[in-house]
Assembly symmetry: C3
Homo-oligomer: 207 residues x 3
């Protein structure tokens, strides 16, 4: 696999950029962030210290990813999506807020599961998990955990259905679902959607 | 008309920038995009390959315009507005998604009609038409076609009224409306608002 | 206090940057803007001419602050928050809109009160006041005035409660409230929440 490509206008302050990853104009990746192999980090994305991004992740233009966020393999982060890590922010420069911000105990981490999609301009609240292969619609404001394969929309975001790993909508029927597009099968138990066969991302474990 | 102005920090990779257009700091316009004359493209806007922008369009700071978007003459795109072109995005780096992304059949184009306004931080879903002189409120998430002269707000965006070409609200009355501001007249037929006299943008056809 | 720090990639066109303020990568602050001391202006923030920002304000990544906005001491502006100043925007390049945009009478200023917090990706409508120590939730779209210490969420934003200067939720009880976190006391009168003792930001008036 080729070395990473870094656009001349990008600021990349971490050595931890995986092979084959492309980093485009005006991106800023801070020291201490980790970006896996074969990712695509588009224009003006900002990735703060402490962020961990897996393999084959697509980060579109203008995305803001703050400390405490982990993005697993194969996820899609749409343009201008924004993450957060502080439920009750105040300016850390206020003298009486210094004690809170002197340590990182205020920080509430969020994890975006394998293969999940975050829509354009979505807002992801702090301290959440976006399940594997879930889909957050464009413009949604997520304030609660999203289960795997669930599709959420709106402000606040609420579930309106389920999606396959290939992103097609699933029709649940008596405890099971088969994707009309790719024919992957799922079992449904109490609202939880689980693939019958594990969903393979990269057949080779080693990039 | 003067030549285009391009700020020294802007990346402009297309030769198709019209006369009199101003392009400000940290803007990136990719090869294959077309921007008409007399436009104003503000800080950090991103315009992808394949985008077509007409005459006299204002693109405010931080706007993200992806492939497949056409913006007609005289439109206003507010700060941080975001466009989309894929209803069911997954990371194109996922091996099983390669077939989908190998061609552009997934791409759903959107058109913003002449003179329309897209509010700040609005999100425009894929495959839509925003009608001429329509107005999308700040923060709206548009998931359906917007008819000409219609004002939409909210997430999902819904119609709450009509606006004149000059942007004033219209009061519909028994099949007609006259703008209290500029006195343009409209006929109303089944919810469709049509100007009695064509709305002239630039009197001269040739810039 | 130390002089301001300005990242080499930032464009700072105003001399009015206070001591101790830090300005990070790809920020653009235009001529005629005023930024007070001890602020933190994060990556790619855009601050237009005429903006006034007080002391100890935190402006996170990607924030867009247009002319007419005043941000008082100790406020927090979350990532990708967007301000507006025109309720009925059209492209100023349209010939028949030139009269409107020839003066600044269209401009509706907004003020963010001392210590208030604006959440990530929030949208602030024009001509508003966000009261002191108020909190606008992430993703909220604010279209009405927000009273001091009020917490608003959603699109359109609506009040769901009250917060202390330290950002903890307040429980109102028979005309008073005491913060369970910091023990500041408030009196409640017809929905208005007022601190019993003035909330001190910086004990020294002179930086």
């Amino acid at each position: 696999m080729a070395a990473a490509y870094i656009h001349p206008t990008a600021l990349v302050e971490t050595p931890d950029i995986g092979a084959g990853t492309r980093i485009w104009a005006h991106v800023h990746i801070m020291a201490g962030a980790v970006v896996g192999p074969d990712c695509n980090v588009c224009d003006a994305a900002f990735i703060e210290s402490g962020v961990r991004i897996g393999r084959g992740v697509t980060v579109k233009t203008g995305v803001s990813i703050c400390e405490g966020i982990t993005i697993e393999d194969g996820a899609f982060i749409g343009p201008d999506a924004v993450f957060t890590n502080d439920l009750r922010p105040r300016s850390p420069r206020l003298p009486f807020m210094r004690e809170k911000y002197a340590t990182k105990r205020w920080l509430e981490p969020t994890r975006v599961g394998r293969g999940a999609s975050i829509g354009a301009n979505a807002t992801i609240g702090p301290g959440l998990v976006i399940g594997e292969w879930a889909m957050v619609a464009a413009g949604a404001v997520v304030v609660r955990r999203v289960a795997p394969h669930v599709l959420v929309v709106g402000n606040p975001a609420r579930s309106i259905g389920h999606v396959c790993a290939c992103a097609q909508r699933l029709t649940l029927d008596q405890g099971r679902a088969v994707c009309a597009g790719c024919h992957r099968a799922y079992v449904v138990n109490g609202g939880a959607v689980t693939p019958v066969h594990p969903i393979e991302t990269w057949p080779d474990a080693v990039p």
